[in-house]
Each structure stands twice: as C-alpha cells, then as structure tokens.
C-alpha cells in the first residue's frame, strides 16, 4: 500500500497489490475479446442484409469499442507489470482526460479532476459559455475558446443592435501577454485582468483612460465611457464566487457522469438550469446594488411587469 501526501490532509491510499490482482483477473477474462472483435468485423463486412448506412454505423461503433478495449488493456498490462506511470501526468489509468490541477498547497495531495471554465456577466451572473477541456491546461488557454462560444451566441441573436464584447475580466491567472494581444486584436479591453496583486482602479482618471486605450491600441474602437464601464466591472472575487457558488449548488462540484463527455454534458445542463434561475431573478428585479448600477450604465431595460395586483382583502 502506498500513501500520497501528508496524513493530516486525509488519506490517499492506493492498494497496489489489490489493483494488480484485479487487473490480472480482468485481463484473463477479456483475452478473447480482440479475436472476437475481428471476427465480428469480418462478418459485418460480408453481411448482405444490412443497408450501407447501418453497416457504417455498426462498423464505427465496433471500432470505437475495440479502441477503448485496447486502451484499457494497455493500461491494465502496465499495472500488472508494475511499470511506473509518469508523475503528475496521469491520475486515472483508464481515463487519460483527467489530470491533476497543478496549482495546489505544498506537501498536500494534489487536487485532481476537471477544471471547467465559465464566461459570465458580472452584473447578474448569466453564464454565456462554459468549457470543460481535456486535462487541466493553463487558465489563459480558456479565454479564446470561451469568447468564440460567446461570439456564436451573439451571432444567433436576431433583434436589437449588433452586440460586441467590450471587455474581459479575470484573475491574475489569466495574465498572459499572448492572450492580451489576441484580445486587443479583437477589439476587447483587458483592463479587468490584473497585472499585479494590487486592486484595479474602479474610477480611472482621464489620463488613465487615455493610457489604457493607448496600451491596447483601441483609440478609435473603444470609447472612454466603455473603459470606465470595464474598470467598474473589473474583477471582483466575491462576484465571481457567487456565480460559482450558484453552479456548485446545482452539483457542478462533483461530476457524476462518466468521462469527459459526461462532464461536458453535466456542466452544460447545470449552466442551463442556472441561467433559468438567473432569468427568474432578473424578471423579478431581484438585483444587488452593484447589479442595479451596472444594468443602468449598460442601458439594459427593465422587464415588463404585467401583473395586476390582487385585492388584499
């Protein structure tokens, strides 16, 4: 038996001998699968009664199943032979899409699992896009795929003026020169992404606004008013935490479905359900002071309330 990390942080025990014994039994049980699979493929090719579309579908399903089996078999053989897996590279031998979240406390078991990303509106918490990547890549790599998804949603919108993304905010983890450059090229302000641990100025002076626009090279594209708004909506941990807490309350902290596809599906459903709850809050005008101010500045209209007050007595 091997233990990982400090005992006071919880026991991370792995029963190596037991795993090897189990893997050996399973390998013996699944020995004929490869031969049977090939025979099934041959039979499928020679069958006359099936249509072309059905044959293709069945062949694809069989090939996928065979490849999955080959992958599991390879990992099981490694376990049986006692070959060491690469440190910090593989958490679950049977699911290579899971990877450890690299940033953690020292001398403690590393957090591992999925690391979904969200792009939300700071005022109300409406989530425009979600992303569950393979493994746990660095945080800046989330930005552009998430913005692409938001852009697709904007393109779907049919009424009202053409909408644009003006600014993006994030924590210090998003501070990356390449990402900043890519965002500036798209005409997006990066005032909300801090460069140091110092808080972002909520009310920048005229000189600050000029400097921000010069640095981003967006003098003609973004107005000083938009810079002020971007600074006001700048990264605030409690705001983001409230969005994350709402998603976690719906079970996003624990992926119950299998594999990466399962994680994507669960996060997507949770986000849809969360957005429904946000819309209810917006329609009932249950906003925080900050959200009220921000909506007013953005010029978002109040939802129509057509309710007739019921008589009190």
């Amino acid at each position: 038996m091997r233990g990982f990390g400090r005992r006071c942080r919880g026991q991370g025990r792995v029963f190596v001998t037991l795993v090897r014994q189990t893997a050996q039994q399973l390998l013996a049980l699944g020995e004929p699968i490869k031969t049977l699979g090939f025979k099934a493929q041959e039979h499928l090719e020679h069958t006359v009664t099936l249509g072309e579309a059905q044959r293709q579908r069945l062949t694809l399903a069989l090939t996928t199943a065979m490849s999955h089996h080959a992958h599991i078999r390879q990992q099981s053989t490694r376990l049986t032979h006692g070959k060491k897996l690469r440190h910090c590279k593989l958490v679950n031998a049977y699911d290579p899409t899971i990877a450890p979240i690299l940033k953690g406390k020292s001398h403690c078991p590393a957090q591992f699992g999925r690391k979904p990303g969200i792009a939300s509106e700071p005022a109300t918490g409406f989530i425009f896009a979600t992303l569950v990547p393979t493994g746990n890549p660095s945080e800046p790599s989330y930005v552009l795929p998430l913005l692409d998804k938001v852009q697709r949603a904007i393109e779907r919108s049919q009424t009202g003026p053409q909408r644009q993304i003006h600014s993006v905010a994030g924590d210090l983890g998003l501070n990356d020169a390449v990402v900043r450059q890519a965002l500036h090229a798209r005409g997006i302000l990066t005032v909300g992404i801090p460069k140091t641990v110092e808080p972002i100025k909520t009310n920048p002076s005229a000189q600050d606004v000029f400097d921000i626009l010069t640095e981003a090279g967006l003098h003609r594209k973004r107005t000083p008013y938009q810079v002020h708004l971007a600074c006001a909506s700048g990264y605030s941990r409690p705001v983001v935490e409230s969005h994350i807490a709402s998603v976690l309350a719906r079970g996003a902290g624990h992926v119950r479905y299998k594999g990466l596809e399962g994680a994507v599906l669960q996060q997507g459903m949770i986000v849809l359900a969360h957005n429904g709850a946000v819309m209810v809050r917006i329609r009932q005008q249950q906003w925080s002071k900050r959200a009220q101010k921000f909506r007013r500045l953005l010029g978002l209209k109040l939802p129509k309330v057509n309710e007739i007050n019921s008589p009190k007595n």
Binding site: E121, R152, A169, A263, G276
Partner: protein, 187 residues
Amino acid sequence: MTDFVPKTHPIRQWADTFPWVALVSAIEQSFDTRFPKKSLRGRRPVPLRVLFALELLKHELGASDEDICHRLRTDFAVMYACGLREYQVNPAQAHFVLPETLCEFRGRLDAALMDELLAIQAAAAMDEGLVSPSHLVIDTFPSEQGSQRVTDATTLYKAQKKRSRSSTTSRSRATAGPPNSKTKPKA
C-alpha cells in the same frame, strides 16, 4: 395543468424562462442527423421536450433520475415544466418516463449540441434585452470526477472486508453455541 400550478410557483417561473421551441428543435435536428429513424413501427417515443425538461429539472432540484421520474407522475409543477398541459390518467402515455429512457436520451447528447443549446438560451436572453455580453468575467473552478469503476480497488477492498467481517461474526456465533433457553423466543 396551468390552473393547478400558480404563476408564482418557483418551478413554473423557472420553466417559463426557457425558449423551449428553439431548444427542442435544435435537439430534434441533431438527433435526426446522427440517429436517423429506421422504422415508423413501434410505440410512440416520449417527447423530447419532456426528456429535456426532466434532465434540466434534475439539476435544478438536485434530484436523481428515479426521483424526478417519480415526481413527473404526481407533481403538477414538474408536469407543467415538461410542457404537459393536460393530466393523463393512463400511465402508459407521455408523462410516464422510465429512468432508463432518461439515461438513453442523455447518452445521445454531445458537446456540440450542448454548446448550441447554451447559445440559443443566451441569444434568447439577449433578444429580450435582459442581459448583455459587453463585459464578461472569466474564471475556472475545480470539479471532482466522481464516476467510480466497478473494478475500483477501494470497492473491492470494502467488499472483501465486509465479507470477512460477516464470516467472522457467523463463526463467532457458531462457537458461542445454541442460544440460551431462558431467552424469550421471538414470535
């Protein structure tokens, strides 16, 4: 159903926010492309609207597949959210959904379709003028992968431990001999 569920009911308010027609047509389109129907014979399928609403409600209410399928039979608010406007007494009809059916429906959803559904919802919210994508906040959060394989060493270890414990108890009972004759026999 609309008469039974008050307008202020949280599930009704929540369900009324979704652009159901657009969402369901996107799912239908995706399913028709990827899983074409081979035959028109057999029992009519459960409407996609019901299955999709159940899947969303499952996460909104924190219920399991079994729980939400049971609630669909008795809870008017859940029926309303699923788009059923008339109560059907015959349990063989549309509002009778098995957890296995829900699981199969879930298996057909993929990442591209989920992105499309989220985009449809966001676009509908923008069209209503309720939200704006002008200023966004991006962040990540950790999520534990909880699916446990049957071959998991921990599960096997627990099963073995349980078995050895139960065999030890039965052995100790056997060595203790027959029960005391003074004790009162159970009825």
